[in-house]
């Protein structure tokens, strides 16, 4: 039996798969882990779709699963395995390529709490309230975390931001 909800869920995943992959990649910075995260999250979400009572939360709910899965993989791996090919694939239309990449990788030094809000806000370019919905925290908390996260980033990068 496959319910309409499942059908919609599968449809959503297939439609936004690249988006999900890229989000996972932002956490783990390598292809294999990012693929695993998307696969595992899809499996887990389908498996517990019956716990999702309201369809309108499906999108944020899945992001949450994806983020939790990403964090779980990082914790498991302890260190982040960088994909060296990534640098080569970045096109030249990004100015200050090296610097941006440096910033991107510095995110990994932040704790999960701050890393997540910064990835969602700046890498994924989400709105504050969207982030609040996904993380189930209120908008002010998101803002606070963003501010503190950026402060910490500045510190990590030697005030170079």
């Amino acid at each position: 039996m496959i319910t309409q909800l499942e059908e919609e869920f599968i449809c959503m995943v297939k439609k936004n798969k690249e988006d999900y992959y890229k989000l996972a990649y932002s956490y783990v910075k390598n292809e294999q882990d990012a693929l695993d995260i998307v696969g595992e999250s899809t499996y887990k979400a389908l498996n517990s779709l019956n716990k999702l009572r309201e369809k309108k939360y499906m999108k944020t709910w899945f992001y949450r699963i994806l983020i939790n899965e990403s964090i779980a993989i990082i914790r498991k791996n302890k260190t982040i395995i960088y994909d060296t090919q990534f640098i080569e694939t970045i096109s030249e239309n990004i100015t200050d390529k090296e610097e941006i990449l440096d910033l991107y990788n510095s995110l990994d030094k932040l704790s999960e709490k701050y890393k997540t809000v910064i990835i969602l806000k700046y890498v994924k370019a989400m709105e504050i309230n969207e982030i609040a919905d996904i993380l189930k925290i209120n908008s002010n908390t998101v803002k606070t975390r963003l501010k503190r996260g950026i402060d910490k980033l500045k510190f990590i990068m030697g005030g170079d931001l």
Partner: protein, 442 residues
């Protein structure tokens, strides 16, 4: 600084997506479905047992090694519904195979999001019917094979008998669902059978011809059908109805009928009933459901839902026996319950037809708390915390976690509301101090 951070999005867009992504997602979906097939296999144990017993008795007669192998699930599909979104029919599909028979089964499932009681009543009826059909057929098939072998047929020439159980959705509206479950066989069309269901979605009750056509439904049907028979015979000289027989026929209010997509009520006469066998099943339009008024008030007619404390006695694949108020009662269910003997349970059940007992819900009493809400708050992380008191005065602070369910009959919670909390094997201690996950007040 923000400028640099904003540049990160560009970088994000540059991330190359590997081709394997599609595979990974498909694998995840399939893996989940495979899991479900295994679960499905478990629920069909009952049938498996019946058929295996028959297979085993054949071993004795023939001295052959018989392994009944069950191959489940070719595919799992869904169909969209004709009616609105609130309810839909999905189905599960599987194949059962043993030494004698191949059964191809498609079981419909009704979903009514705002009325789970009626939903489980309808689905229980369907599941019970399909199981009955399959069990009967397995016995018939085994008898057929035995006869085939005894009359000189060879085991190696024996072709497995294929039975298909499927359904057809005829009509659905806010109030009514009309569908048909049918069985047909490759071997003998005499075994073909049809079961028609017209169900009131607000109450779960069957809608009879009397309900849709009124008190004088008999004369109405007789007149209408007779007229149609005469006009059909005029149009086609090959047709021959036994009008005299029909006039004598007793028309029961539970006679088979279905509702067409346009709302027409179609009465069905089985093969041989009103015409010669060659003409097959005969159908006549006798009215329209569009003229029928269903009461707006939602009441379960003649069926009260009872909540009770119970002690577990035993359970089979389709029954559960409990002690309620010192009386031992057996309920029909579709699940097997594995509780310990004497374990305390909280149950909800209905009386079907005033006598049959049907189980709706069953929980270990230790995994359930009733609370009166005393305080609702949102903690610093934005999670909703419920504080309440149980009937014995114990104070609880709780919210929702995986394995925890808060039930209320209202859309939103207010102070003073009575709620029920169910949880899986978590100690009371943890209930008092739960990390909230999500809230659901349905």
């Amino acid at each position: 600084m923000d400028k640099k951070l904003n540049e990160l999005t560009k970088l994000h867009n540059e991330i190359r997506v590997p081709k394997e992504l599609d595979n990974v997602i498909d694998n995840a979906i399939n893996r989940e479905r495979d899991n479900r097939v295994i679960t499905m296999k478990k629920t069909n144990n009952k049938l498996l047992k019946t058929v295996s017993t028959i297979a085993a008795s054949l071993v004795l007669v023939l001295g052959l090694t018989v392994n009944s192998s069950f191959v489940f699930a070719q595919g799992i599909y869904k169909i969209p519904l004709i009616g609105e979104l609130a309810k839909m029919i999905t189905f599960r599909q599987y194949t059962i195979e043993n030494e004698t028979s191949i059964g191809k089964v498609t079981i419909p499932n009704v979903e009514i999001s705002d009325n789970k009681v009626v939903e489980s009543l309808i689905n229980n009826t369907i599941n019970k019917k399909v199981n009955e059909i399959l069990e009967e057929q397995a016995i018939l098939d085994a008898e057929y094979k035995k006869a085939y072998l005894e009359t000189g047929g060879k085991e190696k020439d024996f072709r497995k008998i294929e039975t298909t159980v499927d359904y057809k959705l005829h009509y659905t509206s806010d109030n009514v669902i009309s569908f048909q479950i049918f069985k047909y066989q490759t071997l003998a069309s005499a075994y073909n059978e049809n079961y028609f269901y017209n169900i009131n979605l607000k109450t779960g009750n069957n809608i009879t011809l009397k309900n849709v056509l009124g008190e004088n439904y008999v004369s109405l049907i007789k007149e209408s059908v007779e007229k149609q028979m005469i006009s059909r015979m005029k149009e086609d000289s090959n047709l021959k109805y036994n009008i005299d027989d029909f006039k004598q026929m007793e028309i029961d209010e539970n006679r088979n009928y279905y509702v067409q997509e346009n709302g027409d009520i179609v009465i069905v006469f089985a093969k041989y009933e009103v015409a010669c066998g060659a003409m097959g099943q005969q159908e006549f339009v006798v009215g329209s459901i569009n003229n029928v008024r269903f009461p707006d008030e939602v009441t379960i007619i003649g069926e009260e839902i009872f909540s009770a404390d119970a002690k577990f006695v035993s359970s089979t694949a389709n029954t559960i026996t409990l002690i309620i108020n010192e009386e031992e009662l057996t309920f029909e269910t579709f699940d097997k319950f594995d509780y310990g003997k004497g374990e305390l349970l909280k149950v909800k059940y209905v009386l079907e037809d005033g006598k049959k007992l049907v189980m709706l819900q069953c929980y270990p009493a230790s995994n359930r708390i009733d609370l009166t809400v005393e305080k609702l708050s949102i903690n610093e992380e934005g999670k909703i915390i419920i504080e309440g008191k149980s009937s014995d005065g114990t104070k609880y602070t709780t919210s929702i976690d995986e394995g925890i369910k808060v039930c209320s009959h209202k859309e939103s919670l207010e102070i003073g509301d009575r709620i029920e909390i169910y949880y899986d094997s978590i100690t009371d201690d943890k209930v008092k101090n739960i990390v909230p996950y999500t809230i659901n007040l349905k």
